[in-house]
């Protein structure tokens, strides 16, 4: 818009200047119209040749003032692009290019020549001096100096170039030199003067120059001449449509139409035509041949645009390039830094991995990971060692099927769904399994305890679980050994207790034995004296038998008490337990004037115990009580109590029975209450202090706890036993 306004201003000012000149003043300032003309024969000649045509148009179109603007080859595009011209008269080659790139359109084609010789097509001439015998045909052009008009000249270069290329002559590679003279006349003169070996001009130039007397026609010889009917001029190339008169896209259609009509109406002998050396105008021809020619030669607009070189880029975009380079440099530095960091990170990572592997492989526990599909993901050395499997064999395998498909005591393999390892990543709860079996590669198995923990990725999503397991064979063996030792210790303690009680027991046995022997002797004497009645003797015999059974009972108790007990528990009536105590302690109690009372609640069931051991506990507690009571003057009471214990909660598996051993002795000093159940704690001058610690151990194996409970007087020990 700005351009148009400027143009308008320029036009009006020019018009004002013009108005003062010729004197045909008009009421309205005429509009200035520029016709750009390719000045291929020099500006002066161009003005001469086309000035009349501009005047013709000025006359034909009132209120318009047409002017010729000569344009060198390299000025044309700029003039079009900047809109300095409204109309354009250029060779067909340039027209085609501008048609494509600047949307100019032809409105008329020139008829060249004059009168009968008028023609609207033209071609190119390849010529040399007539005396150049060494140049007879096109092939001889190799190694010669060529002179053309302009790289953009259609008739003065491009047409000939096409012909030469079709002949296989590469220009400019195959020739010694290729120069451009700028205008046709200069080419002709240079060839005549021997400055070049061969010249390239459009048709009609040689003829015109000869006619004007500038050259001698005979001085020149045309190479590869062609004869075309109705075309009398010298010719070396195919014919192409003549120059078109074209309008720019910005020029108004009305104006273009008026100009086109004016041109087509121009008579053949119009002064403008005569001055221009042409014979008027025709409707625009088809310029397709020119398109094809330019396509074949890869010329604009069919060129591959010139490589936009680095220099160009630098010249044009150097701030950008510098910035880009700086950015690139920065990027390089950053990349380098990044790489250093990355390398460090990698080293750290590999160190970390090594350390992880070292830790993993140096722990004694077997460790392996499992993914969500139950496949093993990693295995440490301890796990390999314990299971006998190689990690390559385990990784990727279903761990459940391989390692712990069967549980202790299960007759059938367990289903994978029950596997605690899988349950762990299903409910995301860590687990600890105390008693399970893992299977070795050789088919044997070993007891394990293991913990299984869900593995989470960085987003907290569970991706599997990790299992840490330990072979518990040794611990189990040790536990069994300890159990055996404890049992043996308890038995030794029982034997020792019996040893201490030996004299009391002997007395206990002596009583029935004494009664038996005395009764027997007495009855013998009665019989001998003749005073023994049958009734009397049978009474005595009954007494003897009773006493013998009494002795046998005592011996049975003692034997059971000292034998190696069976490890299994069995149901025992609490009364039976107390009975043993009464028998074994009868003498000691008598000696120390202690009365033993048993109170068994009727609600008490049988208890499920290892009988001998529990009897040992009660006996031990009772003997301690008797010994303690013997230190103070009597009378004394020892109570053995049994009561059912109420269930404290629903979680308790079964009812329990409380056994209490209560005495009326001096009680237990506060100073030793804290360590009462520790070994070697004793108040007796000759005691080892093992009794209570052994008793506490026995009670513990029955799931109870031996405690000293508070009483008003004396001491009371109590513990719970599982009821049947």
């Amino acid at each position: 818009m700005l351009c148009v306004a400027l143009l308008a201003m320029l036009a009006s000012s020019t018009r004002l200047l013009a108005a003062s000149g010729p004197g045909f003043a008009e009421p309205e300032a005429p509009r200035q119209i520029e016709i750009g003309v390719l000045s291929h024969r020099g500006n002066r000649l161009t003005q001469q040749q086309w000035g009349a045509t501009a005047d013709y148009l000025t006359q034909a179109l009132p209120r318009h003032c047409f002017r010729i603007m000569p344009l060198a080859f390299n000025e044309v595009e700029d003039a079009v692009a900047s809109g300095r011209v409204q109309f354009l008269l250029v060779n067909p080659g340039m027209y085609v290019d501008l048609e494509v790139r600047h949307r100019i359109s032809r409105i008329a084609t020139i008829r060249n020549g004059s009168g009968d010789q008028a023609r609207n097509r033209f071609g190119g001439v390849i010529f040399t001096r007539a005396d150049r015998d060494d140049i007879a045909e096109l092939a001889d052009l190799r190694g010669k100096r060529l002179l053309a008009v302009d790289p953009h000249s259609l008739g003065g270069f491009l047409m000939q170039l096409d012909v030469l290329q079709r002949q296989g002559i590469r220009v400019p590679r195959s020739v010694a030199a290729l120069d451009f003279a700028g205008i046709h006349d200069a080419v002709v003169l240079a060839v005549r003067d021997g400055l070049a070996d061969v010249g390239l001009v459009r048709t009609d130039i040689l003829e015109r120059m000869a006619m004007q007397g500038l050259i001698e026609h005979s001085d020149f010889r045309v190479l590869a001449p062609r004869g075309v009917p109705n075309f009398p001029l010298l010719l070396s190339t195919p014919l192409y449509p003549e120059w078109p008169f074209s309008t720019l896209q910005s020029t108004s259609n009305a104006l273009a139409q008026q100009v086109a009509i004016a041109l087509l109406r121009m008579p053949t002998d119009a002064p403008a035509a005569l001055a221009g050396g042409y014979a008027g105008w025709t409707v625009p021809l088809d310029y397709q041949p020119v398109h094809q020619l330019l396509q074949a030669l890869h010329r604009p607009p069919y060129d591959h645009p010139d490589a936009f070189t680095l220099i160009d880029a630098l010249q044009r975009y150097w701030p950008g390039v510098v910035l880009s380079l700086l950015a690139l440099l920065l990027l390089l530095i950053l990349t380098g830094r990044l790489q250093t960091l990355n390398a460090r990170l990698n080293r750290a990572k590999s160190r970390l991995e090594q350390r992880q592997e070292l830790i993993l492989n140096s722990v004694a526990e077997g460790i392996y990971g499992v993914d969500l599909s139950g496949r093993t993901t990693f295995v440490n050395k301890a796990a390999e060692r314990m299971t006998g499997w190689d990690q390559h064999q385990l990784i990727g395998c279903n761990q459940h099927q391989v390692l712990h498909h069967q549980h202790r005591g299960d007759a059938f393999p367990r289903a994978g769904e029950d596997c605690p390892v899988y349950a762990t990543f299903r409910d995301q709860q860590a687990r600890f399994v105390e008693d399970d079996l893992f299977w070795r590669r050789d088919g044997s198995c070993f007891p394990v305890e293991y913990s299984t923990t869900p593995i989470r990725d960085e987003h907290g999503k569970t991706v599997g679980s990790v299992v840490v397991f330990r072979d518990t064979t040794e611990r189990r063996d040790a536990a069994a050994r300890i159990q055996r030792l404890q049992t043996e210790q308890a038995r030794v303690a029982r034997l020792s207790t019996l040893g201490e009680m030996a004299s009391g027991i002997a007395h206990e046995l002596n009583q029935p034995l004494t009664a038996i022997s005395t009764n027997a002797r007495a009855s013998i004497r009665l019989i001998e004296n003749g005073r023994g009645t049958l009734e009397c003797c049978s009474q005595v015999m009954t007494k003897i038998a009773d006493q013998a059974e009494r002795a046998g009972e005592i011996i049975r108790h003692i034997r059971r008490f000292v034998r190696k007990e069976e490890p299994e528990t069995s149901p025992v009536a609490v009364a039976d337990l107390f009975d043993t105590i009464l028998v074994l302690l009868h003498q000691e109690a008598r000696q120390h004037a202690v009365e033993i009372q048993c109170e068994i609640s009727p609600k008490v069931d049988k208890v499920l115990v290892q009988r001998t051991q529990i009897e040992q506990v009660i006996l031990n507690l009772a003997r301690n009580a008797i010994e303690a009571m013997a230190e103070t003057p009597g009378p004394h009471q020892l109570k053995l109590l049994a009561q059912p214990r109420a269930l404290e909660s629903n979680t308790e598996p079964r009812a329990r029975t409380i056994i209490r051993v209560a005495d009326s002795g001096p009680g237990i000093a506060d100073s030793i209450q804290g360590r009462l159940f520790e070994p070697f704690t004793t108040t007796k001058a000759r005691g080892l202090g093992l009794g209570l610690s052994i008793s506490a151990g026995i009670v513990e194996t029955h799931g109870g706890k031996l405690v000293l409970s508070a009483t008003e007087s004396g001491a009371c020990f109590e513990f719970c036993l599982p009821s049947l």
Binding site: T514, A515, I516, N529
Partner: protein, 215 residues
């Protein structure tokens, strides 16, 4: 008063007590049984002859305690200790306290019967001595103080003339007192008088018979 000796049996074991009783009865001895020391003490009559068969270890008062208690009485039946645990210290203690025998259960029936008979004879002798001493004491109580004075001089072996001189009385007075002493003490001769007086003195230190120690 029943003069047949009785076997007193103290044992808290019913069966043993009954068996010992039967054994005693089988040889025709009088028997009384007690299930505790206290029961025996409640029924105790010092005049009744016999012996005590005593179990050492009993509820309540033990055998040794009963023995100690009885030792304070002027006369009591000799004690035969029977025990289930014959240990030397206890045997020594029992014998020191005056037990005549110490038997360990189960004992031989004959040994027990022998011990009982031995105890009976000890008891009989003790009771005989005690009786004679009581008689002498009774006769001496008949004497006047002057007669008792004369008797002491006679026992000291002094002649009538010496006694008369010592007491500043006439010899005939001494002879009259002497005849009265002889008469009151029912001694027919000087030697009989001397024996009477000596036996009275000896009862206090009469030697004990050696008890049978167990074993």
């Amino acid at each position: 008063m029943n003069t047949d000796p009785t076997v007193f049996i103290v044992d808290d074991d019913d069966e043993v007590r009954a068996a010992i009783g039967l054994l005693m009865e089988s040889v025709g001895l009088e028997v009384r049984t007690y299930d505790s020391a206290q029961a025996f003490l409640d029924d105790f009559d010092p005049e009744r002859p016999g012996c005590l068969v005593l179990d050492v270890r009993m509820r309540g008062m033990s055998g040794i305690e009963l023995q100690t208690h009885l030792a304070t009485a002027p006369i009591h039946p000799p004690i035969v200790i029977i025990t289930g645990h014959g240990d030397v210290p206890m045997a020594v203690r029992a014998v020191q306290a005056g037990a005549v025998d110490f038997l360990e259960k189960p004992f031989n029936d004959q040994a027990l019967l022998d011990a009982v008979h031995r105890a009976f004879s000890v008891d009989a002798r003790r009771r005989g001595i005690a009786m004679r001493r009581a008689e002498v004491k009774q006769r001496l109580e008949r004497l006047t103080p002057r007669e008792r004075e004369i008797l002491e001089q006679i026992v000291a072996g002094k002649r009538n003339k010496v006694i008369a001189a010592d007491l500043h009385i006439s010899q005939s007075t001494v002879e009259a007192h002497r005849a009265k002493v002889m008469d009151k003490l029912e001694a027919r001769s000087l030697s009989e008088l001397m024996r009477l007086m000596l036996s009275d003195q000896a009862t206090a230190e009469e030697p004990q018979e050696n008890p049978q120690t167990p074993g």
